[in-house]
């Protein structure tokens, strides 16, 4: 390939019924980057993630993962995904933390093969990274929201991915744990050399942590390094979020509210 592009989104559009949700988005992520993807509610951020993961197919354009066309891509162990829905799973589900983390290995193990001791050790290592190893035998439903979040990150990490995609991972996690959570992401990005793509509506916090920011509202409005984004934000936020919008500051993180 020659370049270090992990994700290449090439003029991708997607419509649901007759409405365009994603319009002509052109975006790429290079190895080692921590890209924050921001935008208002309904701006198509989560849909863009689904397109990247092949969960929905684009109406126009092309997506490549690790240099491979998405429809031919089969190295799913390279991609860890922490869904927005991870928090809304059936909390009465009878599974231990270890059992949940091991499901992250399904793509690596392949069909007609079984979980073995080595897989258990890998799962324990992933739990150590997120500092949840003491809870391996606990029921997943008994943990707090922040702890569950860590378990789902461990599940995404267990297959040794080089890219981690997180969709609104801090929703439902209390403010105290959000700070720890960003520390964990920084650790993964620097120490484990994992590229990160994180969808969030928390613009203030993400610009402090991510190396790059992309801002979309159906189409892409900004893509560049975080420092530059702050300048862009001041000039364009109104245009992007509509005229009746004012950025509000709560505690240490910013929110955008429609008035």
């Amino acid at each position: 390939m020659g370049n270090d592009k992990i994700i290449e989104i090439d003029h991708v559009s997607f419509k649901y019924d007759a409405e365009w949700i994603v319009q002509d988005v052109d975006l790429s992520i290079e190895k080692g980057q921590f890209l924050g993807l921001v935008g208002p509610n309904g701006s198509g951020k989560s849909t863009l993630i689904k397109l990247m993961l092949g969960l929905v197919k684009p109406d126009q354009g092309n997506i490549r993962l690790f240099g491979q066309e998405l429809r031919h891509f089969n190295q799913w162990q390279e991609v860890g995904f922490v869904s927005q829905k991870a928090n809304s799973f059936n909390s009465g589900f009878p599974a231990t933390v270890l059992e949940v983390v091991k499901t992250g290995l399904v793509s690596r193990i392949g069909a007609f093969r079984f979980f073995n001791r080595k897989h258990k050790e890998k799962a324990m290592k992933a739990l150590e990274i997120v500092e949840m190893e003491d809870y391996a035998e606990s029921s997943i439903g008994e943990l707090s929201g922040g702890q569950q979040q860590r378990v789902f990150i461990a599940r995404a990490l267990v297959s040794d991915p080089s890219l981690l995609i997180l969709d609104e991972p801090t929703v439902g996690v209390d403010a105290k744990h959000v700070a720890n959570f960003y520390d964990l992401l920084a650790k993964l990005n620097r120490e484990q050399d994992i590229s990160l793509l994180m969808v969030t509506h928390d613009i203030g916090t993400i610009t402090e942590h991510a190396t790059h920011v992309a801002c979309m509202n159906k189409s892409l409005h900004f893509h560049g390094i975080s420092e530059e984004y702050k300048g862009f934000e001041e000039g364009n936020l109104n245009q992007l979020y509509g005229h009746s919008v004012q950025p509000l500051t709560h505690n240490h993180h910013h929110e955008v509210k429609h008035s």
Partner: protein, 285 residues
Amino acid sequence: MIESFFQYQFLQNAAITGMLIGIVAPLLGVFIVVRRLSLIADALSHITLTGIAASLLLEKKVSAVQDLNPVYMGMVFSVGGAILIEKLRKVYKHYEELAIPIILSGGIGLGVLLISLADGFNTDLFSYLFGSVTAVTRSNMWTVLIITIVVITIVILFYKELFVLSFDEEHASISGVNGKWIHLLFIVMVALVIASAMQVVGILLVSALMTLPVAAALRIAASFKQTIGLSIAFGELSVILGLYTSYHLSVPPGGTIVLTAIIILMMSMLYKKVRNQLYIKGETI
């Protein structure tokens, strides 16, 4: 019963079939319950009745069809119903559960029509509704044994796929698990197990054997594997104790098996309550 067991073949047939069902019904039941599809078992058992009725009618009206065991026609209908449910779930993407009442009522409607055409209820039909210790033939027993072996093999082979699909369908899809095929395979297994179990517990109570042992296990188990183990243990206990009392009281086994399962369920709830209270006490001391 032990003595009679060696003496009478029909008791062996019923007991062995029952014990096989006691393994596979709760085994599949665990996946059904955690996916919140408990009613699918009911829909499939009712469409099985339609198959039984169709078979009884054929036997009566078409002289060429004699000695046709209604169980096999029941299986064909059950599997057909399972595939139809899957198709309907795709038609009504946003109302997936609609498929269940459509198949359930359609099954009963057609079943009633066929039963009436076959000149109404008889003792045969009664034993299919509530189960019987005398109706299971040796060939039925062998069929159920084969189904049991196939189901256990498939669940072991696809354990991690079935588990990840049950826990998180989206994640399964990203993991490259072909959900469509595994789900179809699963629901066909459920259909076969329901048609097999119907002979012993009866159509009206078949879904109980898939859900009650699981409900009891859920109160106690910490892990998914433990849930499966306990569900099978409770299912097996229900079948053995239920068949035993059924034989001695001369009542249909469906009732006694399900009541045993209910008692086990109540005991597991009580156990959980007592354990929690002891735990709280232990904490404060």
